[in-house]
């Protein structure tokens, strides 16, 4: 990494840690993930053979991702609403580096808090699961845990791309949350099983979260890693759109 890129990254870190919302949102990621995961694990009584206690313990990721979205939007959106984006871009004429610095910063923020939240959720889930616990050091449990952390990082980067594309905090939050939650709702209502399957295979949240499954893998609409791959595709598309708009417009 050369000095210019390093300076940019230092600048991004300074912006992030001097804004009080960053700390609150990082705490919110962990808090909501742990709280919902623990509640779901405690409330789910596993009577049939098809239940997945590891996935249940990781339910909180579905709520924690909202704080991740807000964190990613504020990393960029605030610059657009206050106008500092003009100074940021003027200081770094190669706009791609600004994007790269923001990507690095978000990864550096979301990876540790995501890993801590996911590990904590599994420990809490194992402790409060009624009746029987589960083993944590199995290949599928580690895949579910590692995949959930990657899921949160991909959601952060997806949001970053969308925010650069729409250049407005509120619009970015609305777009990403609608994109995430619309398809599971629609898929839950439609009765055409073929369409239902396609929706669950293509939607960023449903496909991405299939990485949390540890039982009944073969009955899933999409496998764990291919599912996360679909989300990665959405993230790549969003980052590309954001980069294109950043490159074509100055502010």
């Amino acid at each position: 990494m050369n000095a210019a890129a390093w300076r940019l990254l230092r600048a991004e870190w300074t912006k992030a840690h001097t804004v009080s919302s960053t700390g609150w949102l990082v705490a919110a990621i962990a808090g909501t993930t742990l709280a919902l995961g623990g509640a779901a694990a405690a409330a789910t009584h596993c009577s049939s053979g098809s239940c997945d206690p590891i996935r249940t313990s990781l339910t909180g990721v579905q709520l924690g991702q909202v704080a991740v979205v807000l964190l990613a939007v504020l990393a960029v959106g605030t610059e657009y609403s206050t106008g500092t984006i003009q100074a940021t871009l003027a200081a770094a004429p190669r706009h791609g580096r600004v994007l790269a610095a923001k990507v690095t910063l978000l990864c550096a923020l979301v990876l540790p808090v995501g890993a801590a939240s996911v590990a904590g959720s599994l420990l809490v889930g194992r402790a409060v699961s009624p009746g029987h616990g589960f083993r944590l050091l199995t290949a599928s449990a580690l895949r579910a845990a590692g995949g959930s952390v990657l899921y949160l990082v991909l959601i952060a980067l997806l949001t970053l791309g969308v925010t650069f594309a729409v250049r407005n905090s509120a619009a970015a939050i609305g777009t990403v949350l609608a994109l995430l939650y619309l398809t599971p709702i629609v898929a839950g209502v439609v009765t055409d099983t073929r369409w239902q399957r396609h929706l669950l295979q293509l939607a960023p949240m449903s496909a991405g979260l299939s990485v949390q499954a540890t039982v009944g893998i073969h009955d899933l609409p999409i496998g764990p890693w291919p599912g996360l791959g679909v989300l990665a595709g959405w993230t790549a598309a969003a980052l590309l759109a954001g980069a294109t708009i950043l490159w074509r417009r100055d502010t």
Binding site: S169, A170, V186, D192
Partner: protein
Amino acid sequence: MSAGTAERSGFARLLSAEWTKLRTVRGWLIGLAVGALLTAGVGMFIASATVCSQPGPNGSFVACSNTSGPDGREVTDRFFFLHRPLTGNGQLTVRITDVRAAQAWAKAGIIIKQNTRSGSSYAAIMVTPGHGVRMQYDFTHDVAGPSGAVSRTAPRWLRLTRAGNRVTGEASGDGRHWTTVGTATLTALPRTAQLGLFVGTPPDSGLTQSLTESTQHVGSALATARFDQLTVAGGTTGTSWTGTDIGDTGGMRTAAGGRQREGDAFTLHGSGDIGPAVSPLLPVTPIERTLIGTFAGLIAVAVVAIAFVTAEYRRGMVRSTLAASPRRIRVLAAKAVVMGSAAFVVGLAGSAAAVALGSMLLRANGNAVAAVPLGTELRAIVGTAALLAVTAILAMAVGSIVRHSAAAITLVIAGLVFPYLVTAGAPVLPAATANWVLRLSPAAGFAIQQTQVRYPQVDTAYTPFNGYFPLSPWLGFAVLCGYAVLALAVAGFLLRRRDA
């Protein structure tokens, strides 16, 4: 020019200024259009991806069939009927000594019916295991009679009398002292109708719910009842009784009815139910299923409404706006009127398209779309537009209070959209919690879309996820309006107190 006229023209100028701001920002117009497209498009997609099929023989699925009652609304009409023709006036009296069924709403008693076609007009007096004696007629009417279950030691006498179009149901605990339970006037009853005994029971339905799952198991059920001391008076023809399973064999019917005769006693068994068709027990699609996209449309409209105020603060334009109109509350009022009207128009276009085209698509896919009165359908469509309008005003007021678009949209989504998603959108919360959320949060306003009716005489999961809101449509909408008024009041107060 009088002061009043000046004030009015002043407000008109304000409205025109705000309207000019709204229509000249391309992004906002796109946002509003996206709101309409999401509301309509999601509904149409859901309609085109909803195919109706119900369990058929050998684990296969067959297209849904539905039965219409005398008033055109969908009904359930399946039961075992032991009948003979009655011409003119007449009366049937019977004693019931035993009813065996798992369901509180299993039914056994006397019925007079237009004919043996499923869905035809009827009146019946019956005993139920859990709800005492009932007089029911034409599917939606239900009158309670004496309470208490029937047993060999406490039998129940029932009597049904036809006099012209009037059918009277009576009950007695000893066969001598009679209580009139109810009287029905059935205009569709022909001179020769079918009179007799019947037995039916709704399917065995149990609901399991937790934070992560909520499923309804629908199984089969069979009810058995023992009748004796049968006396028929009036113009019946013949002395033999015919046993008929009324209604088709698809859907929930799995067990066939039948009878055994021992002396003057009959033992009848049957399954099925007589009553209004209620989702999700039966595959009837309510029209509000096509309005599920509303929550996504709401997000788009709220984003625009928030930008409509926060953009002024961001660009400092609010200082010129407020300088041009020192009475700041009127600026807020003008913005609310303009934004609310724009959202209403957008919402009306979206919801009208969703319901009109969506129900066409639903029917084309073999679904039974629940027939509702025109007024109810219009309330759901116009109510959805009003939902978007009030949400836009609420979002605008929140934007004016927090002055920060990311915080404002987060508050609106957390307060209005998320409560809806975890209750009515997906059964994340248990029904009891979901009902409280939909009483107290702004998401109560979604009740305006409900067209389905709760029937106390039909047991089903009346949960938000199945489309039954805890508050009545207008009351729920009033809760949302209350939040909007509160937010506007706070916004107005702060606008006067704070510097721009």
